[in-house]
Each structure stands twice: as structure tokens, then as C-alpha cells.
């Protein structure tokens, strides 16, 4: 077994065993971490590769959450979760077909408005047809079930990203990001590819929303469609390096810790700092921390070479 694979296996086992080993607080932390891992890695898969920056993660997450709000009880947890993903993916396909042919900047602002759009639409729908403001989850599943489900989705998300990167589809996405018109003249159906990528990343955001929704006992549009989720996703991915796989994963851990400890204490100040962080990051390190890695690796290699030379010199 390759060392990389062994490491992954150990990590997976450790994560799977967590519910029985960690305190409630720690478990909740790991859970948030896994959620953002899934969100950021699939965001990077589409937006990082194609440079079509989607700010719609919050909208897809919320759609998934509402699928659970509406469906859980009548349908089992194991069904609403993928259903939430499918609903989000369907919505993404629709929106994508309408706006993905626009320039990247237009696309980004429009996806940004989607969160508000869906929130208002659902609020209206709930008030007019369901005559309610929020919904209660009567008998939520056990926290261990929730944890394992989110773990499964996150693992699936990472696997999907790896698979996409190696595939022809991933090559097409990268080509679109590098030079969309050129990719077209080489045979890539850019429209279909973009919509597919967008829908795929939406699926995971929706599934995660559907899975996490049960943690709120009372679900209402304002809490579920939270722009912070979208912002955090983008920030984490950018800090890690939106063109890589490992980058977002590593920075997810860092940020989940930060968020957990700082956000409740200083809600506004925290967001101000995060905003500042994103600005500084894009201006001074647009490739994220992952872009430091090749330089770092080169330095380590050079250091190793120098040490070897010294050793050789000492012996000779």
C-alpha cells in the first residue's frame, strides 16, 4: 500500500471512530470541519478550476436544508440527504443554463444574489402556502448518525474531486479556466461542461445542507440561508489555494478552529478580520498557501542537497 493511501486510511478510521472517542464539543468541532471540507473542496473543483467564482454555496446549502425541513419525517434521513443534493443540483442546472454563458464577473454577482433570491422565495412560499414561518424538526436522528452521514458526504466529495481532476471532465474544466475560447476551438462543449461542474458542486452543498439541517431544531429561512457560509467557503478555498485539493482541506481545519473559538465571542470583529484577510490574500498571495508549497519544497530540496554535499565533503 502506498504511504499516501495508508495515511488516508488511518485518517478515515480515526474520523469514523470519533463519535465514540471525543467529547460532544470536540465532535461538534470536527463536524463543522467536515462540513466545510466538503463545501470548499467541491467549490474549488468547479470555481477554482474554471475561474467562474460561484458565491451561491449558501443558496444550495439552504435548499438542501429546506428539503430536510419539508421532507424529514415523511422520508427517512437517508433519503432526504441525497434528495437535498439533487434539488440543489437541479436548481444549479437551471440557473447555470441561464447565466453561465455570461462573463465570470456577472456570473459571480448573480450567484451572490441567489442566496437572497431563494431566501425570499421560500419565505413567501412558507407564509402564503404553508402558513408558517419556520419549521420544527420533531425527532432528529442521533448525533452519531448525523456525524457519520456528514463524514460520508465529505469523503465522497474528496473522492469526487480526485476523480474529476484525473478525468477528461477535469481537463475540460481546467481548459475553461485557462482559456475558454481556446478550449472551445479544441472541441470542448464549454456550456455543457460548465453546467455539469456547477451542478456537481451544488449537489454536495445541498447534501451537506440537508444533512446539517437536523442540528437546528427550528429551521427558518434567515438562519439557514446564511451568507457567511458562502463567504467562509470562498475564503477557506482561497487561503488554501483554489487550484489544489490539499490546500482547501488544510485551511479548513485552521479556519474551523478559528471560527469556533472567535465567532461567538466577537461576531462583527471576526467578520471584519476575515474580510481583511481575504483582501490581503488576493492582493499578496492569490494562489493561496498552496502556492508557497513549490517554493517551500524547492528550499527543502536545496537544503537537503547542501547537507548531503557537506556530508560527502566531510567523509572525503
Amino acid at each position: 500500500m502506498k504511504p499516501g493511501h495508508a495515511l488516508v486510511a488511518i485518517l478515515a478510521a480515526a474520523l469514523a471512530a470519533a463519535p465514540w472517542m471525543l467529547s460532544d464539543f470536540m465532535l461538534s468541532l470536527v463536524l463543522t470541519c467536515l462540513m466545510y471540507a466538503g463545501l470548499t473542496v467541491t467549490w474549488a473543483m468547479f470555481s477554482g478550476a474554471t475561474n467562474y467564482l460561484s458565491l451561491a454555496s449558501a443558496a444550495f446549502f439552504g435548499i438542501g436544508a429546506y428539503v430536510t425541513a419539508w421532507g424529514f419525517g415523511t422520508l427517512p434521513y437517508a433519503v432526504v440527504v441525497p434528495l437535498g443534493g439533487v434539488a440543489a443540483a437541479a436548481f444549479a442546472t437551471l440557473i447555470g443554463a441561464a447565466v453561465l454563458h455570461l462573463r465570470g464577473a456577472y456570473f459571480a454577482v448573480l450567484t451572490f444574489g441567489l442566496g437572497e433570491l431563494v431566501r425570499h422565495a421560500i419565505t413567501y412560499f412558507e407564509k402564503s402556502y404553508a402558513h408558517t414561518v419556520g419549521r420544527v424538526i420533531a425527532e432528529p436522528p442521533e448525533s452519531t448518525t448525523v456525524y457519520l452521514t456528514v463524514l460520508a458526504i465529505a469523503a465522497l466529495a474528496v473522492w469526487a474531486c480526485v476523480a474529476v481532476r484525473r478525468s477528461r471532465f477535469g481537463l475540460a474544466l481546467a481548459g475553461i479556466g485557462a482559456d475558454e475560447e481556446r478550449a472551445q476551438t479544441l472541441g470542448v462543449n464549454t456550456r455543457r461542461t460548465k453546467i455539469a461542474g456547477f451542478a456537481l458542486s451544488a449537489f454536495f452543498a445541498g447534501a451537506l445542507g440537508a444533512a446539517m439541517a437536523v442540528r437546528w431544531t427550528y429551521i427558518e429561512p434567515n438562519s439557514v440561508f446564511n451568507p457567511f457560509i458562502g463567504f467562509q467557503t470562498v475564503l477557506i478555498a482561497m487561503v488554501g489555494g483554489a487550484h489544489t485539493l490539499i490546500g482547501p482541506l488544510v485551511s479548513t481545519v485552521v479556519f474551523s478552529l478559528l471560527t469556533e473559538f472567535l465567532r461567538l465571542q466577537f461576531p462583527y470583529l471576526f467578520l471584519i478580520l476575515l474580510g481583511l484577510l481575504l483582501i490581503l490574500l488576493v492582493l499578496y498571495l492569490p494562489g493561496g498557501l498552496a502556492s508557497l508549497w513549490p517554493a517551500l519544497r524547492a528550499r527543502i530540496a536545496a537544503l537537503g542537497a547542501r547537507l548531503a554535499a557537506l556530508e560527502g565533503g566531510a567523509r572525503g
Binding site: 475561474n51 467564482l53 458565491l55 441561464a98 447565466v99 454563458h101 455570461l102 462573463r103 465570470g104 464577473a105 456577472y106 459571480a108 454577482v109 448573480l110 451572490f112 444574489g113 437572497e116 433570491l117 425570499h120 422565495a121 419565505t123 413567501y124 407564509k127 402564503s128 463567504f231 470562498v234 475564503l235 482561497m238 462583527y268 470583529l269 467578520l271 471584519i272 476575515l274 474580510g275 481583511l276 484577510l277 481575504l278 483582501i279 490574500l281 488576493v282 492582493l283 492569490p286
Partner: protein
């Protein structure tokens, strides 16, 4: 009859605000490809500045308008220098300029909005100004709404005139059409870009100041205007200030009618619907060249 007039009027007023905000964003994006998603936050700042002036210093908001414009203009110069100049200099392609400026302004949006939350708190604020009713023909309007409409349209027309008739305005339009060509003729982008950016933010601030005369304000008030501004730009055609004016007013009126016949909460759905419908019919916008 008066009902219809009032409905159209409320649409025109919102539309006028949309136009002002959109022209500002249009200048920034059309000239520099800077997609400033935090544009609405500066509208919010203009609103709060005016509210502060009115409640603390008892200054007439109309009199304060030029001050708001000046303050936001200077802020624009600063924001450009700190946040966007580096991107314009170091990005290898237009797409990257767009992507990076988008991300930077995304961060800026959170920064500005939450600073406002921190400083002013989340409660709605407001003041009353010129809220006596005025009768024009069979319809009744509140005086402040008429004033807002007048100033919004007035500001837009002034800007259109500047763009069309002054040397600076022509320089800006030239740059929008051909950046390299304009540089060859001696137009100094290092000066022009921050100035245009500042003008854009000043317009947003003025829009916010006008809004504060009629509505209550909150730190989150600016966000929806950014999205609406983008929709207006797309409707009116990128780079066309006249298109932004017409498109803004059109959107405002369509929204007013739509909201009346369906529900106010569906406002966004309506604007997106209009947007997507127009795009499908005419992908380059209604007035694109």
C-alpha cells in the same frame, strides 16, 4: 387613475436610485473591469453619514449631499489605491483582473458591512425629512420621494452630460472602448482610474443619502442594490451610461408593478426573472452597441 400614477411614480423613484447606482458600477466595471461587489456598502455608508449629519448636527440632508459625494469620492480614491491598483498592475489578463477584484471586493463587503454593524448596531435607524404630502394633479406624493427622484435623475443626467460633452468624459469613453488607444493619445490612466472609481463610489453614496431621506436604514441595506445594479447594467448594455439610466428606471417600474400584482417579497424573483428573460432574448443587453 391616481393609483396608477402613484404606482408608476414609486417605480420611477426606485428606478432613479437604481440608475444612479448602476451608472457608478458601470463606470468602474466598464472602464477598469473591476467588479465591485461591495458597491452597495458604500451606498449604505452614504446613508449613514447623512443620518449622522441630520440627527447629530441637524444638517439638512440635501445640503449635505455634496459633502457625502466628496467624502465618498475621497474614500473611493483610497479604496482604489489600497485594494485595486495592485490588481490592475499585476494581473496577466482581463479575466484575472475581474476575478481578483471580485474577490477583493467580496472581502471588502464583509469588512465594511460588519464595521457598520459594530459601530451603529443592527437596529434600523431613520429620520424624517420633507414628509409632507404634495399633490400633483390627481395624485399624492410625499415631498421627499419627489425630491429623491428629482435628484437621482438630475445626478444621472449631469453625469451623462459630463461623459458626452467634457474632455474628461470623452477620455473616459475613449478608454472604455480602447484602453491602449487612449493611452497612446496621452490619457493618463494612473490618474483617470482612481478618479473614475471615486466618482462611482460618490454616486453610490449619493444614492444612499437620497434613500435615507425616505426609508429607514440598516447596515445590510446596500447588498440588494449591488445585484440590481448589475442587472441594470446588463439590461442597458455594458459601458452605456444612458442605457443604465433607462434600464434602471425600467427595472424600477417593472418591479413596482410586479410587486403590486404578486407580493413585495417576490421583488428579487421578479428582477431575476426580467434579467434572465432579457438575456435570453437579447444576450448583449437591450441597448448594447
Amino acid at each position: 387613475m391616481s393609483f396608477w400614477l402613484e404606482l408608476i411614480a414609486s417605480g420611477l423613484i426606485t428606478g432613479g436610485i437604481y440608475a444612479v447606482v448602476a451608472i457608478g458600477l458601470n463606470l468602474q466595471y466598464g472602464l477598469m473591469r473591476i467588479m465591485n461587489i461591495s458597491h452597495g456598502e458604500f451606498l449604505m455608508l452614504g446613508a449613514y453619514l447623512t443620518w449622522l449629519a441630520q440627527t447629530v448636527l441637524n444638517v439638512n440632508p440635501l445640503v449635505f449631499l455634496p459633502v457625502v459625494a466628496a467624502v465618498l469620492f475621497l474614500a473611493g480614491l483610497g479604496v482604489y489605491r489600497l485594494c485595486f491598483r495592485k490588481i490592475a498592475r499585476t494581473a496577466p489578463s482581463v479575466e484575472i483582473i475581474e476575478a481578483r477584484s471580485l474577490l477583493v471586493s467580496f472581502g471588502l463587503m464583509f469588512l465594511v458591512q460588519n464595521t457598520a454593524y459594530l459601530v451603529f448596531g443592527a437596529d434600523l435607524r431613520g429620520y424624517s425629512f420633507l414628509d409632507e404630502p404634495v399633490e400633483i394633479g390627481p395624485a399624492r406624493f410625499t415631498a421627499n420621494r419627489l425630491v429623491v427622484f428629482g435628484f437621482a435623475v438630475g445626478a444621472s443626467l449631469v453625469l451623462l452630460a459630463v461623459l458626452r460633452f467634457t474632455l474628461v468624459g470623452k477620455a473616459v469613453r475613449a478608454m472604455m472602448q480602447s484602453p491602449t488607444g487612449a493611452q497612446l493619445v496621452g490619457i493618463d490612466t494612473a490618474v483617470l482610474h482612481p478618479v473614475v472609481f471615486g466618482v462611482g463610489l460618490a454616486l453610490a453614496g449619493v444614492a444612499g443619502a437620497l434613500l435615507s431621506m425616505v426609508y429607514e436604514i440598516s447596515p445590510a441595506m446596500g447588498e440588494p442594490y449591488t445585484v440590481s445594479a448589475l442587472i441594470v447594467i446588463t439590461l442597458g448594455g455594458l459601458g452605456s451610461a444612458a442605457g443604465a439610466l433607462v434600464g434602471g428606471i425600467l427595472l424600477g417600474v417593472v418591479e413596482a408593478f410586479g410587486m403590486h400584482f404578486t407580493s413585495p417579497s417576490l421583488k428579487m424573483l421578479l428582477s431575476y426573472g426580467v434579467f434572465i428573460a432579457v438575456l435570453l432574448a437579447r444576450p448583449k443587453g437591450l441597448f448594447a452597441r
